[in-house]
């Protein structure tokens, strides 16, 4: 496990992506509606929520010293990050390829954030030597 005070590049990537996704979820996603607005909530809200969960888990354990259980439903936290990151990436690809009117800045940053979550989750596997990658 990495040092509590200094976040690793993977942890920074996940926390930054989560924060950016949360902030941009309140800006226009499509047309003049945010990811929390009518006709888009909650399907478009899933992406920032995944980012929020991943970013919060890192931030709480890293900076607040919160002790979380070693595993959740048989998944280690590294596996949870990998699973959520991959699913976020899949939804990001989904929104990228969906012809949903005018893509606004909120959607673009959700897509970028989803991709960043995958990258961060993969980097996390390497940093923590889980053996999942490489």
């Amino acid at each position: 496990m990495a040092d509590r005070q200094s976040p690793t590049p993977a942890e920074i990537t996940i926390m930054a992506a989560g924060a950016v996704m949360l902030v941009f979820s309140f800006l226009n996603f499509a047309g003049d509606t945010s990811a929390w607005g009518s006709h888009l909530f909650p399907i478009a809200t899933l992406l920032p929520l995944y980012g929020l969960v991943m970013g919060l888990q890192i931030a709480l354990t890293k900076f607040a010293g919160v002790k979380l259980p070693e595993s959740v439903l048989g998944f280690t936290w590294e596996q949870v990050h990998l699973a959520l990151g991959l699913m976020a990436g899949l939804m990001a690809l989904g929104w990228l390829l969906t012809d949903y009117g005018d893509k606004q800045i909120g959607m673009w940053f959700e897509i970028l954030g989803g991709i960043a979550l995958v990258v961060g989750a993969v980097m996390l596997q390497r940093e923590r030597n889980t053996g999942a990658i490489g």
Binding site: T45, A83, Y100
Partner: protein, 151 residues
Amino acid sequence: MDKLKLSTANLVILIAGVVMLISSFLAFNKFSTPSATIGSIHIGGTVSRNAWSSGYFLIATIPALIGIVMAAHVAVVAFASGVKLPDTVLGLTWNQIHLVLAFQATIMMVAFLIQSTSPLDKGIGLFGMLIAAIGLLVGAILRSREAPAVG
């Protein structure tokens, strides 16, 4: 796994995957207006779009693709004995992969159910996909509780 004997969990996943695929081609959302025929001109009626239609593909198609992947895995393991799959993918066992995929399909379909679509009505395809997603999740949970099996 015995070629003629699918476990209950795998059978549930296989059936749910097929239901998911069929439902994805049925009306996801529809718009109905009173119809009338005046002479040879017909006005009004119902217009529907499925999960593969423009405006829905790819975001609404993801649960269907997940169902296909899960059912295909179960079918390959059960019926294609010559195919050798790795025990884990990216450090996740197949039982974990089924759980993750089924959770994702279910949460997306619940989100589509909650989503306001006014003035469009939710179609039978959406409800079929929701039921199939729940089926996939039930199958994945049952699968994870079964004795460890190859693949």
